[in-house]
Symmetry: C2
Subunit: 202 residues, 2 copies
Amino acid sequence: MPPESLTPERILEATEEVLRRYGPAKATVVDVARALGVSHGSVYRHFRTKTALREAVTARWLDRTSQQLSGIVTEQGPAAERLDRWLTALFEAKRHKAGDDPELFATYMALIGESGGVVDRHVTDLESQLTRIIEDGVDEGTFQTPSPAVTARAVFDATGRFHDPCYAAEWSRPEITADFEAVRDLVLRGLRPAPTGRADRT
Amino acid sequence: MPPESLTPERILEATEEVLRRYGPAKATVVDVARALGVSHGSVYRHFRTKTALREAVTARWLDRTSQQLSGIVTEQGPAAERLDRWLTALFEAKRHKAGDDPELFATYMALIGESGGVVDRHVTDLESQLTRIIEDGVDEGTFQTPSPAVTARAVFDATGRFHDPCYAAEWSRPEITADFEAVRDLVLRGLRPAPTGRADRT
């Protein structure tokens, strides 16, 4: 392969494929280099350590979800509807990741166990998206909260059953959709302004 | 030991102690009988199988929490305050179980993994308690929901981060109390009646 075509993205693609084939315990940088037809030195030129490579491929996998969701943040329309769509899309994305390719999902769960920092950044990213939607709702007067960031974290935590991988086994149960809708409705109601008569929206 | 003093409760106490000492993988009914100074036949007279004994000791451990909480359900006072106390007490109880005796907690986590049915009954029990508090709030006019049982389940799910053992590792983090309060506030706000004053919200 000509050196200029060995991009980080190509290395990460190959890494995912190697992880899928050999599993996270056995996959090595040499396997990745071999899959790309390059020396392992060429891979190390882009990712200095095996850990850096594994973290980058995990971040890429998690970023696919945040990128899908980021479009909803900047859409037009009432904040409550966008929040609903965002939570639904997050659940759908996670459910698909877990259900469509369970082996790759298990692989990434193992990688995530190795590196808390990558997940923390992912959660911070998702909570920032939620914060922006909630701020829009406060500006519209349809949401009320003294701190959109604190409330965003609460919304994220309250919906954990529908995005946290520790619940992945439950996402294929038939009643999970009704459970999700009940939590989503509770959360959306919790964002409404307090009913304090008519002076409640300024 | 005179046979009449061999009560189910004494057997379960001894079982817990044996599980703590040998771990769930190694503990046997013979160990329990030996700890009580009785034959294993005497133990089997009360619990027909090793599985039945392990399920009973797990149920007893879980029931300690539900019994602590049941007092709050029947207390006097506004439903919102009781719901707050109930959620706080559940979090406290779980946090103590996980933090005060991590080895016993890990033992019960292993037992729970063996027997989903015991946990399902525990969750049903807790959700029934929540349903009663929410029904009281609907009667008072401070909560609004078409289905207290569905909402009870949503409240339970939404607060999972603060009672589901899969989060036990996070319960010792300093920020967890603020996280809990933010979710609790969101949930309590979500139970308030819809503002029906002005025609601007339909």
